[in-house]
Symmetry: C2
Subunit: 461 residues, 2 copies
């Protein structure tokens, strides 16, 4: 840990024990949002958090209703000519089963070596606790922030953030800012400081292929009618070419291409195809030609069957032509692509390639926008400077293939650039037994979050 602000450091050194006690107290609240019996615990965690924000010296610390688990809000808005940052995290946690794989009870936090062990230690209570502690230390040592800050910590991230978009829409004025920082991601392999530049969006659809009202005898009718399962296989096979590219007309039209700098950054990450393949246990890595594995899984759109079913699935033989066949198909989307437009192109193409003799239905099940804040964005660079100043090395830039829905919501509803600045170790067992936080990351992360506020002072408004 580097010394970047002597007063802040001294304060943090002096308050370490009390801070760990506070961290543990927060972790003891079993705020599992997906389990209705824990609704009261979620509310208790929100109240605890609002109290901690208020105690840190932030203003307007409130528990706000959303229709589901509440959002905790607080702000400090006394830097009239400076930018405003919106800081996001979530206080809810994943369920804990299977309980017997935990080495200690998930809601009785313990420090083992340099690790805090508990459900939520990393995802995401550890990260938001670090933000609150950064704010407390800054106000204790300086009495003010260099910029304006707003905090929102939600309670439904682990159960699909169902009420968040409506709440963001309703609270648009209160949440006005220049940039959002989401601390719900982590470091790269080997615990390298990292900034996540992009997340993919998604288009999720179902294809139904309908033949007859009931299954047919495959001997009596085989050869005379289209088989819906064969037809579905034909449709799916035609969606992608042997080059791994999606064949839907217009699919790639709006994709924001990678810059040379993007490709260089990905190429220089410590990542080994052979090890990755071996860990997955597959005979080969495959995907779109012309792109590396990291490019394909983080920066290129995909098309995957998530599920498929038709006819007889039991032991042995049943000789039928299934009456109908179904598939769930999703596309991961990258910057530039819009879920609705991709769905329309998908539906039109499926209709166009469906073989004769069956009826085809294509239905949109869900969608989410991708997000991207470029490496050269001033806020990205501010985050990079904060990481380098505190962790002693420039961050790597990574691209995540999955989605954090709130990230796209911040872009589309609030119109904010989003910086994904997280400090959890890459193998922290989030969503699994024995979740842990590296206490070095936690302590240095507090300094990173504080430094980030200093670095954002020059953000163009």
């Amino acid at each position: 840990m580097l010394t970047v602000d002597a007063a802040l450091d001294a304060h943090l050194e002096a308050t370490r024990e009390a801070r760990l006690d506070s961290y543990k107290a927060f972790l003891r609240i079993p705020s599992i949002s997906a389990i209705p019996a824990h609704a009261g615990d979620c509310r208790a965690a929100a109240a605890w958090l609002a109290g901690a924000l208020s105690e840190a010296g932030l203003e307007h610390a409130e528990v706000l209703e959303t229709g589901g688990h509440p959002v905790v809000y607080a702000d400090w808005l006394h830097a009239p000519d400076a930018p405003t940052v919106l800081i996001y995290g979530h206080y809810d946690v994943q369920p804990v089963d299977p309980l017997d794989l935990w080495t200690s009870p998930p809601f009785e936090p313990v420090v083992v070596g340099d690790r805090m062990l508990a459900r939520g230690a990393a995802d995401d209570k550890g990260q938001i606790h670090a933000h609150v502690m950064a704010a407390a230390a800054m106000l204790a040592t300086r009495g003010r922030f260099p910029i304006n800050v707003k905090y929102i910590f939600e309670g439904e991230e682990e159960s699909s953030s169902v009420h968040l978009d409506a709440w963001l829409t309703a609270e648009r004025d209160r949440l006005r800012a220049d940039v959002a920082i989401i601390s719900d991601s982590g470091f790269f392999e080997g615990n390298l400081p990292a900034i996540t530049l992009s997340l993919r969006g998604i288009m999720y659809a179902q294809i139904d292929v309908i033949g007859t009202a009931v299954d047919l005898h495959s001997g009596v009718y085989g050869g005379a009618v289209q088989n819906p399962a064969n037809a579905l296989a034909q449709i799916i096979a035609a969606l992608k070419g042997p080059d791994g590219r999606v064949r839907i007309p217009g699919f790639y039209d709006d994709v924001v291409p990678l810059t040379e700098a993007d490709r260089f950054a990905l190429a220089n990450l410590p990542f080994d195809d052979a090890t990755y393949q071996e860990n997955l246990g597959v005979p080969a890595l495959v995907g779109e030609v012309g792109y590396t594995t990291l490019e394909r899984r983080g920066t290129r759109p995909t098309l995957d069957v998530n599920g498929m079913w038709a006819g007889f699935q039991g032991e042995g033989a049943k000789t039928i032509i299934p009456a109908h066949a179904h598939a769930k198909v999703s596309c991961r989307l990258v910057a530039g692509q819009e879920p609705d437009r991709i769905f329309e192109a998908f539906r039109d193409y499926v209709d166009a390639i469906a073989p004769p003799g069956v009826t085809t239905r294509v239905e949109l099940i869900g969608g989410g926008f991708p997000s991207l804040t470029p490496m050269d964005h001033p806020a990205t660079q501010a985050a990079a400077r904060a990481l380098e100043a505190t962790f002693g090395r420039a961050p790597v830039y990574i691209r995540e293939g999955g989605s954090i829905p709130v990230c796209a919501s911040f872009s589309t509803i609030l119109g904010l650039p989003v910086i994904l600045l997280g400090i959890t170790p890459p193998d922290e067992n989030a969503h699994a037994p024995n979740e842990w936080m590296d206490l070095g990351n936690y302590e240095t992360g507090i300094r990173t979050f504080a430094r980030m506020l200093d670095e954002l002072i020059d953000l163009p408004r």
Copy 2:
């Protein structure tokens, strides 16, 4: 009904009431082979049948053990220079559920108009009762048969004839004959007298496509690995071309081509594509180019997915790359094709076309030989003359797409040509509620079966 043998006719007229009583007594025995609780009823039906054969004047009437439900055997072998015919049927019946759709109890036979209504009235107790009555009438009026006759009536046809092949193999000597007549098929649409010339065989296999040990997150891994469900769809789609032809190398090599006479006979059947399509409720009939619907479903091999499954099949969205994907695929086979050879070609082709990044397994689940007795076979022509002499019109020649396993067993184990001579109406509700037999078909059929024995006298031995 035409008068073809005045003495036989007179006898049959005089014994009509007693015969219907006997028919009903046979139908009253609930010989459902698939339900273990009815094992005693199956044995009772066998005993009843052996008694009826013996009463008719046949010799060696016996109930023979098979390891399952028994076979009933009887013979008359006193025409030393004449051919021998083996007559086959089955005394077991289908289950009766759903019981509430029956207009009268399934095992309390009633005559309604010109129909006998009961489970088994047609399939197959009605047909074998007609054979026994034909034998009784012939022996009563002539004291002898023109040729040698052997009867075998099995009790497991409705539950896969599991013990029959081993029994046929063991009893090969006792069953020596020149031709087999199977009476377990029916007339054509509109109740036209019909001879079924061929049945298709089958090759049934399962394809397993294996990716990873567990499902993967489609966001985190999508684009980097092969998706087993997409891969399976590619494999299935590659098995058939847009012309409806199977692409497996060598698949059609051994197919016995249709003769011009075969095609002419099928083309002249009263069959209407538009009505057939409308009844099925499909937007089009599809299949191999260059063949009519009746040719495609009766005389050409097929490839159909019978079932298919992978990944998530529930409501909504689950964003995974399935760990594995599976399909049950079967080919209906026609004369000349052998199930084992077709499986090997299928397996080799699947292995050859499987995309990279997954492991593929192909397993044989079951197979059955096709059967064909040509239209110009002397026994086919004998059956045709018998039908024309009694029903007053030449039969139509049909090809069934399904399989009667015993048919192939008679060919392969006993080396016999097989004539499929059945007299049930085409819409008799076999396997369904309210099964019925047309009593006109039944009475005339008795004369047909008797006449058939006369017509076989010139069969080359």
